[in-house]
Symmetry: C2
Subunit: 172 residues, 2 copies
């Protein structure tokens, strides 16, 4: 009898203590907390990104991407990986590009986050005497690796009819 | 004595059965499973999207977006919400646009998914006698609402130097 009771208790304990899926409410509460934390981290990383970019530190900018990140600039093919991203930034630096990023929405769940934002980019094309300004929107897929948010996918496009944000040689 | 034992048992049960955070390995295994399922769902939704788009069903295409979705076409401002998206599609339908979508990577965690892909779009601009083709890349933030994946953020740009994919009036 005591064996049966003990067995029943063990089974009861095992059933009660199986890893349980979160309820939708628990998942939403956790995501809200993670999103708030990711928002703070990403706002800070956006400032860091713009600072490195505006100072022409290609290494530091490229280091903010994942090893196999996809950079998707308008009017040119996708750029894959940190080394290619570093090289791809050179034309911007040659134009003394000045970038400002503003996150408009961030959503996170565990190691996955999405940021939607807007940018303003001033640059002086070769031969120009005054800087031009482009404004547009972007979407970034961030991934948390070893406690650090890195850009995994980065795509943007211009709001302006005739000024796609690409290296000068590729512009119409 | 039996009360103390019962209390200890209750406390033990309560401690053992607190909701536990997943281990990183458990989280990764769950995300892998969810990603596989999301990939299948999104491949199917991409085909459905292209079918509705190519048949000029603006209502059905717009219905695949969340209520407050952000559509971010190149060379024009962001389009916010289903109604505006429906209106914004009209120029494409007027050009008999034919769209093909290919998902290159999907990652999901719970109700959040990111899709990176490539598109090919054939269209016949007003006055043209033969269709033109644009190719490019896109990033979509999908959100699972009531068991259905909907587009929450959708951005793309062209791989081609001089043919941004926008409505004809806005093109350079």
């Amino acid at each position: 009898m005591r064996v049966v009771a003990g067995l029943a208790l063990s089974l009861g304990l095992a059933a009660a203590c199986q890893p349980k899926a979160e309820t939708p409410e628990q998942a939403q509460a956790r995501m809200d907390t993670e999103t708030t934390a990711a928002r703070t981290a990403i706002d800070s990383l956006d400032r860091e990104f713009a600072q490195h970019f505006n100072q022409g530190h290609a290494d530091l900018v490229a280091g903010m991407y994942t090893e196999q990140a996809h950079l998707m600039p308008p009017n040119m093919p996708v750029v894959v990986g940190r080394d290619a991203i570093k090289t791809g930034l050179a034309p911007f630096f040659a134009m003394k590009a000045e970038l400002k990023l503003t996150a408009d929405a961030v959503v996170a769940n565990g190691p996955l986050a999405v940021e939607r934002g807007t940018y303003a980019l001033s640059f002086t094309p070769p031969g120009a005497t005054a800087p031009m300004t482009d404004t547009g929107k972007y979407l970034v897929h961030w991934h948390l690796i070893d406690g650090k948010w890195l850009l995994a996918d980065d795509i943007w496009n211009s709001d302006l009819p005739a000024m796609p944000m690409g290296p000068p040689a590729k512009n119409p």
